[in-house]
């Protein structure tokens, strides 16, 4: 099988010390379809008179748009801060993002990924804030919510940011689709700014709910507020897709509110937060695995074997293959991956699943060549080597009989060094009954408990079977 494509979530631009809003980059081969161009031609004005009227309408709309943004910015400016993570031994910053006041006592909300360096290595880092009016000071970390990428902070000097007011949480119904949303923050460390966009509801197929914001979020705006046109919090800036335009994401405000309620009276976190992060990740993976196991596999459409393909509830599947006219061995491939991944630190995204398979038809090349290439594909797999986050993968293998269908199975697990009790599972399966055809599948689960890894392995293997035993080789 070809090496698995990797999703890179680039959250913080270390290169020039500016925090980035989280972004997903999908490598070539999985691009969504480009928007059609005929819609824009249809929207062009039909006559000069109509064009003049349309221009006047645009002017008035732009005046309304910009005045709202001005008002919201002025209203919220005093409650915005830049959150900076500095090295203790020097004044250089390792990350920078945005944050905002959520209480009169001075509690601040930002993203977990903005403060993860400090949360996990407080002995090497310190947190400071810089308000829009120039006030600065040290910060304390009170609580984290890794699953929703949130963190609760407070100035170390009590009362430093008090009496500035708070960004109010929006109550009642969610905004209508297309409603104006204003995202605030400090993009690229250039200065505090407001970005206009639109509300588009929940992002589809997200296991962890996020809001789809039709606007631009730049690096540095992580952790800033996204408010409606009355200045009430809808969500917290968290991520953007770099393979599209104005496709950004917000953490729903309810989670920020829950974090504030849970931890507003908590003391500062002074030790590395690995234990708490681990606890939250374990809780998350329990829910994820339980939900995933409850879903039946979909049919892959193969005439000979039942191959497990997940429901597209929170995974998206992409397919590719060689056509019947292509020379050589024919292959069809399916890649299913979750979009949402949990950020723990640079170099560590976890809490997600991927499922893929390749179906081979070696009829055009004969048994000998098929055997050679089928094995070569089985060999061409990567498993985790030892690094600072994970142990090297350890593997076990055997031939498994699934209702008479022989499968070669390799199960590899690597343990997280600092997140006790969490593992990455990789399960490689190949059918063994075909002389000129076969299917190889791979299932990966990142950040699961050992018991859940076993349950997922069982679930995946049980997804293989003959469709028509009469046609199968024995």
């Amino acid at each position: 099988m070809n090496p698995m494509r990797t999703f890179l979530r680039c959250l913080l631009q270390r290169a020039w010390a500016a925090a980035a809003v989280g972004s997903w980059v999908i490598s070539a081969g999985a691009q969504p379809a480009a928007p059609r161009s005929d819609a824009s031609r249809a929207a062009a004005p039909a006559s000069a008179a109509a064009a003049g009227a349309t221009a006047r309408d645009l002017d008035s709309r732009q005046a309304g748009v910009s005045s709202t943004a001005q008002r919201i910015y002025e209203q919220t400016r005093g409650r915005l801060v830049q959150v900076r993570t500095l090295l203790r031994t020097q004044d250089s910053q390792s990350s920078v993002g945005s944050g905002f006041l959520v209480s009169d006592e001075g509690h601040l909300i930002t993203n977990f990924h903005v403060v993860s360096d400090y949360a996990l290595r407080p002995e090497q880092h310190r947190l400071v804030y810089a308000a829009a009016d120039g006030q600065q000071g040290p910060l304390e970390l009170l609580a984290v919510d890794v699953v929703h990428d949130l963190a609760l902070l407070r100035p170390a000097s009590r009362g430093a940011l008090a009496k500035r007011g708070a960004v109010a949480f929006r109550r009642g119904s969610e905004p209508a689709r297309g409603a104006r949303v204003l995202a605030l923050g400090n993009p690229l460390d250039v200065g505090f700014a407001v970005m206009e966009g639109s509300y588009n509801g929940l992002a589809e197929r997200g296991f962890v709910p996020t809001l789809f914001f039709g606007g631009s979020l730049s690096a540095g705006m992580s952790g800033g507020p996204a408010v409606d046109d009355t200045g009430r919090l809808i969500g917290v800036n968290v991520a953007a897709r770099r393979d599209g335009e104005q496709v950004s994401f917000l953490v729903p405000a309810a989670h920020a509110q829950a974090l504030l309620q849970r931890a507003r009276d908590a003391g500062p976190l002074a030790v590395p937060a690995y234990a708490e992060v681990t606890r939250q990740l374990r809780q998350h993976q329990d829910l994820l695995v339980k939900s995933f196991l409850a879903q039946p596999w979909r049919a892959a459409g193969h005439p000979r074997w039942r191959v497990p393909v997940p429901q597209e509830t929170y995974l998206r599947c992409w397919g590719s293959g060689t056509g019947p006219e292509a020379p050589g061995m024919r292959m069809e491939r399916s890649d299913c991956e979750m979009d949402s991944r949990l950020f723990v630190s640079d170099g560590l995204l976890t809490g997600y699943l991927t499922v893929r398979h390749e179906a081979y038809d070696g009829g055009p090349i004969g048994e000998l060549r098929f055997a050679q290439r089928y094995s070569a594909s089985f060999e061409n797999e990567f498993f985790q080597n030892d690094n600072r986050w994970r142990t090297a993968a350890r593997c076990t293998e055997n031939t498994v009989q699934r209702e008479g269908l022989p499968l070669r199975a390799v199960m590899c697990l690597s343990a997280y060094k600092r997140l006790a009790g969490l593992y990455d599972l990789s399960l490689l399966v190949a059918t063994l009954d075909g002389r000129e055809a076969g299917v190889q599948g791979r299932f990966d689960a990142f950040g699961v408990s050992f018991e859940n890894a076993q349950a997922l392995a069982r679930h995946y293997l049980d997804g293989f079977a003959w469709i028509d035993p009469k046609n199968a080789s024995r």
């Binding site: 031994t89 090297a392 293998e397 055997n398 031939t399 498994v400 070669r408 050992f450 076993q454």
Partner: protein, 350 residues
């Protein structure tokens, strides 16, 4: 020499590869060495003094010379460089006993002194006769045929000549180039360009290494035996080392024993370094984590289990993984303890 019975000793001047390039009969004592023309053995070597050294039958010149010497005496004259006698350096003005067969080095000239009373070493077996084309060609042809089949497997049925060109030209050329390089080494040290001999060494061994790669993986897959596949890979490495040793011994047969020791040491050191680095990276001693060759349908005779059996089999991974995590925690704690005092000192100095 017309009257060998008068020969008291023989001085052999040795070449770079240890062969005798010139001999000097000794009919009278003492034998002197130096650049001056009045010496018995004149050495045209700028690192040799005019009267550099002399070999005498006894340490006391007043004593008569024994009829058949087994040991003579070396006296070094006024020289800044002295004489190297075996591993020992004899300085100017000193003297030393000189057993028969001793090797001396004066400047850059190496001499061996053979005395009339020496006991001859037994006759050695003659080296193997040079290989012939008839004996070496079959192995080479079988090797090339096997590699051709291997290459054919990687091509689609309708492949034209293009993908074959690189193989047809490159593979024989690589084999020839390998043998030519070793033949050049033979030319250098043995004054003969023994291409056929080296082909006779390379072809069967390369064939053996290739055969291991063709046969062992499918057998290991059929048995479900990853250890067998690993053994096959190491066996191919051993065959490679054996090939290098055989070539080197063919070039310099007199050092065959030393090459054997060197090859063994290199193999052990190389294997150890590889295994240690492999283990650090993958936490396993095997070069591959799993059996990568799949068995042919109907040939598998290894162990079989159920889904539940396989899932339970994986439980054995937990203990080693947890131990590895504990070890990582200890290593990090140790590293933190060693860094913290340095960091504290650095912070205090600011």
């Amino acid at each position: 020499m017309d009257r060998p019975e008068e020969r008291l000793a023989l001085i052999e001047v040795l070449g770079r590869d240890g062969h005798v390039v010139r001999t000097v009969d000794v009919c009278a004592w003492p034998v002197t060495f130096g650049r001056d023309l009045r010496n018995t053995v004149v050495l045209d070597d700028p690192q040799v003094a005019g009267f550099h050294a002399a070999v005498l039958p006894t340490a006391d010149p007043s004593l008569p010379a024994p009829p058949r010497l087994t040991q003579a005496h070396l006296t070094v004259g006024r020289t800044r460089n002295g004489v190297r006698l075996g591993r020992r350096q004899v300085a100017g003005g000193d003297s030393a006993p000189l057993p028969t067969g001793s090797v001396l080095q004066l400047g850059s000239t190496v001499l061996r002194v053979r005395l009339a009373g020496e006991t001859l070493a037994p006759e050695q077996a003659a080296p193997e006769p040079p290989a012939s084309w008839r004996s070496t060609l079959p192995a080479a042809l079988v090797l090339l045929a096997g590699l051709a089949v291997e290459h054919w497997l990687t091509l689609d049925p309708d492949a034209d000549l293009g993908p074959w060109l690189a193989f047809l030209l490159g593979t024989p050329a690589a084999l020839v180039a390998w043998c030519v390089l070793w033949a050049l080494a033979s030319k250098l040290f043995q004054q003969r360009f023994d291409f056929v001999g080296h082909l006779g060494i390379a072809a069967p061994r390369f064939l053996l290494a290739a055969a291991l790669g063709w046969v062992v993986p499918p057998v290991a897959a059929a048995l479900g035996a990853p250890w067998l596949a690993e053994a096959g890979r190491w066996a191919a490495v051993v065959v490679g080392g054996w090939t290098l040793w055989a070539h080197a011994r063919h070039v310099l047969p007199q050092f065959g024993g030393r090459f054997q020791v060197a090859a063994l040491v290199l193999f052990v050191v190389g294997a150890t370094v590889f295994l240690v680095m492999q283990q650090r990276r993958t936490d396993t001693w095997a070069s591959q984590r799993y059996l990568t060759t799949l068995p042919w349908p109907g040939t598998y005779v290894g162990s079989v289990t159920s889904t539940e059996g396989f899932v339970q089999q994986a439980a054995a991974l937990r203990g080693p993984l947890e131990e590895r995590v504990r070890r990582a925690a200890r290593e990090e704690a140790q590293a933190t303890r060693s860094i913290t005092p340095a960091a504290a000192a650095s912070a205090a100095s600011r």
